[in-house]
Subunit: 188 residues, 2 copies
DNA sequence: ACTTTTGTAGAGTGATTAGTCAATCGAAGC
DNA sequence: GCTTCGATTGACTAATCACTCTACAAAAGT
């Protein structure tokens, strides 16, 4: 049954986010997932392996969502716009997952993730930006700089939107207006 | 002796950043600080208290540095500019401390920090921005939005500058150019 | 049918660790 | 010199937790 594996991952996500890595014993994860202690270790050899598997699973989830939203036929600005806006939508709809990714990044467990795995995940976004520079749509800055400017914009907006309770409508407005600010900053 | 307390905080900073909260036992902190196990618990009743004390100490350090750099007589744009640039300089010169602040933010320990303590620390920056909006120097956006846009810009730049090894000169150029981008985004 | 593999359970274990405590030390005041 | 009291020590404890192991059940394969 792959079912149990998913249950374990779901339970781990909830508990890790709520209580941190140290604060959630494997026994509690197993209990919350409705499986025995031994079963957890049948699917994940160590707690560390579970932490990393959950990270990969979460990242894959986000990537899949983004890919589904963006149409390769659209013109570049629209693709960048969609990539920005839907990153935010995904984050807002999957707050635990979005938080978990950052939680892993600020923990010693990042060291266990092969750099090429992390690189692969940003490749899509870097590609978009590279295309923009080449087409002289975006400022001729280093791609990595553009990339961090855009990602931190996303993180900032996320923080702003989750700090207060806005209506879905107002959220949409803020997100779209914030893209205009971002776009004016990076466009040629 | 206040000396020992400082030694413990310094040791804790190094170890927490290198191995995470769970990964560093209090015994190792005491050893690295050159004091006994009991002494550590004489100064900090619990490990949690040590974590929080280190957080406050670090934040105070940053605030003191920033206050010293900014002259209340300067005109607003210069004060904002200095606040941006020196935040980055401090972060680059105190990477462990800067990292630690974020590490705490993505851990369950944030919950133990009274919200008003966190608020007090952002009050200075919010004040600058409020002044800018009132003087019609900055766009009439919600201050909190402006604030997160600026802070995430700082974080993004920090990440970019630490990911690769640049000369001090080149770093200075990038920081100054990035402020222009930011300023164009937020100014009226 | 029967053998093999795979999944599941949960009690058990060895190691680790936060925090305690009783004993000493040393400086300051008298 | 004596007393007091905070600082300091490090052995100790009680609890926790990651992980193992044995036993059993259920599929899958033949």
């Amino acid at each position: 049954m792959v079912e149990k594996e998913k249950q374990i991952l779901a339970a781990a996500l909830q508990l890790f986010v709520a209580f941190g890595f140290h604060g959630t014993p494997t026994s509690k994860i197993a209990a919350q997932a409705g499986v025995s202690n031994g079963t957890l270790f049948h699917y994940f050899k160590t707690k560390e392996e579970l932490i990393i598997a959950l990270y990969n699973d979460t990242k894959a989830d986000m990537s899949a969502y983004l890919s589904a939203q963006i149409n390769g036929q659209d013109r570049l600005e629209l693709r960048i716009r969609k990539s920005y806006i839907h990153s935010l939508y995904w984050a807002l709809e999957n707050r635990e997952k979005f938080y978990y990714i950052q939680q892993v990044h600020f923990s010693p467990h990042v060291a266990s993730i092969p750099p090429e795995v992390i690189a692969a995940q940003t490749e899509f976004h870097l590609g978009l930006l590279r295309e923009g520079i080449q087409a002289e749509v975006l400022r001729p800055l280093p791609v990595e700089l553009l990339f961090t400017l855009v990602s931190s914009h996303v993180h900032g907006l996320y923080q702003y939107l989750t700090a207060s309770a806005f209506t879905a409508d107002h959220r949409k407005t803020v997100i779209e207006e914030s893209f205009v600010l971002l776009w004016d900053m990076i466009r040629k």
